[in-house]
């Protein structure tokens, strides 16, 4: 954990500099010229700049603290083994799912997504996979429609 803290504090320090000198000047856009005699505090970039400045100080103090004190913390129990690839996969699958919601809509995308995730998580028993990936999404769709008149994404391919 100590090494992690050192890395993260350096990353945060870099982020502070990057924000201060690049993101804040380029990503705060005023469509109306701000009056000249406006005090600096009222400018839109005042608070972000202040925040980033303190962030830089905090990162340095985290860096010092993590070099000075050895605080090894055991993170997780035996249930976990490092499975970063699975985390990345689930994340990207979810992202793909959201994109497919835009084009194919809820009714088609959801069961496929659910089935893949369930199987990925190690459950291959039909009695569970089918109801969860088919009936649950269907139930949700009807529930939202009948009780709240909420329309879940219909898919742009089918709307045009």
């Amino acid at each position: 954990m100590r090494k992690g803290s050192i890395i993260i504090s350096i990353v945060l320090l870099g982020f502070s500099f990057f924000s201060y000198f690049y993101i804040i000047p380029t990503q705060i856009i005023s469509s109306i010229p701000i009056e000249e005699n406006t005090p600096a505090v009222l400018h839109p970039d005042f608070f972000p700049r202040l925040t980033v400045f303190i962030l830089a100080i905090a990162s340095v103090s985290l860096l010092i603290a993590s070099i000075k004190f050895k605080t090894d913390e055991k993170t997780y129990g035996d249930d976990y083994k490092s499975a970063i690839s699975r985390v990345v996969f689930v994340f990207f699958l979810s992202y793909l799912y959201v994109i497919s919601l835009r084009y194919f809509g809820y009714s088609i995308s959801t069961p496929v997504f659910m089935a893949i995730i369930i199987v990925l998580l190690g459950l291959r028993d039909w009695r569970y996979v089918i109801p969860t990936s088919l009936l649950f999404p269907l139930f949700l769709n009807y529930f939202f429609w009948y009780s709240f008149k909420v329309i879940l994404p219909e898919g742009e391919l089918f709307l045009k």
Partner: protein
């Protein structure tokens, strides 16, 4: 259980869901053949939302299909406008517009749509005339004295608006331009907080609508004074209140609720909607609901409606250009 069975799940899932999608897509259909979706570009519970729901609550009898209200307040309403622009122009997706997304926003920011040419203007249901209010306890009474006081102490008297570049802010800009008075502008987040700060005596003047927050009651009890109403003629509810035009400020502003549709929606469909809505605004339940909100229908449609939007668009553009607003 291997890959084969997994694939089978996918195929099964796909085929079953397409079944539920409803494949019946016959050609000779009479509008409307499915529920009509009305997008509201503002948040839940606002007067815009409640107005739309009042329409939707009786719409079935006139349209033959239910009307579904879909709230899309994200991105300052821009997301809703784009959703409408992208929607299929068959009349099943409509939008209950408010002025700021069509007549102000495009002057201030890049919106990615042409407010007057990307949409069809269908029907206006109601409008609420904008008013300028102040507490009755102020030393000045009425608009003339207010302006005189503001000129005497430039930048000391404050006005709380519903937000920067909101409709209320435009009113202030126009007042300052036409009278030469200098008034301090305090932007709030929404009309409610500004109104509250006004009643609490934290700001001197503020915007109000006839119906909201018990304005009428406070006015009658002598707690609040109304400096002017931004309508062409004096309004019935406040017969003694002068219009802004009478005050020497050429400014007309109302919070309007108009249905607009994507460009290219067939003329027959629009005609159908207009004739249905014309009957709808005479519905007793609808009128009763509006009356309870302190409003009444003021229907407008066809070229007159579009002209109304075009006029407002031009007028606001002029005000904003005069203070140097540039799109970036």
């Amino acid at each position: 259980m291997g890959k084969f069975k997994f694939l089978l799940v996918v195929v099964l899932a796909l085929s079953l869901t397409t079944l539920f999608m409803g494949l019946g897509d016959s050609h000779a259909r009479k509008f409307p053949w499915k529920p009509i979706k009305v997008i509201v570009p503002l948040g839940a519970g606002g007067s815009h939302d409640l107005n739309t729901r009042a329409v939707a609550s009786v719409a079935y009898d006139y349209l033959g299909q239910p009307m579904i209200v879909q709230l899309m307040p994200g991105g300052g309403g821009k997301i809703a406008m784009h959703a409408l622009k992208r929607a299929k122009n068959d009349g099943h997706t409509l939008l209950m517009s408010s002025a700021s997304h069509l007549t102000i926003g495009p002057h201030v920011r890049k919106m990615g749509y042409d407010p007057l040419n990307d949409f069809e203007f269908v029907f206006m249901f109601t409008k609420a005339d904008y008013m300028m209010a102040a507490m009755a306890s102020q030393p000045w009474k009425g608009f003339k004295q207010f302006i005189a006081a503001a000129k005497k102490n430039p930048g000391k008297i404050s006005y709380g608006s519903s937000g920067i570049y909101g409709t209320g802010h435009l009113m202030l800009l126009k007042i300052m331009a036409d009278t030469g008075a200098k008034i301090k502008h305090i932007p709030f987040k929404g009309g409610g907080p500004a109104y509250r700060a006004g009643l609490g005596g934290h700001i001197d003047t503020f915007g109000a609508l006839p119906a909201t927050g018990g304005t009428l009651g406070r006015y009658r009890r002598g707690q609040v004074q109304i400096l002017g109403v931004c309508s062409k003629k004096r309004i019935k509810m406040f017969p003694k209140v002068p219009t802004m035009i009478e005050n020497g400020v050429d400014f007309v502003l109302a919070s309007k609720r108009s249905i607009i549709a994507p460009k290219g929606t067939p003329k027959e469909t629009i005609d159908f909607l207009v004739s249905a809505f014309k009957k709808l605004v005479k519905n007793k339940t609808y009128i009763k609901l509006l009356k309870k909100m302190g409003e009444k229908p003021s229907p407008l449609w066809g070229p007159a409606l579009k002209q109304d939007f075009a006029d407002e668009h031009a007028a606001f553009g002029k005000i904003l250009a005069s203070i140097g607003v540039k799109k970036k």
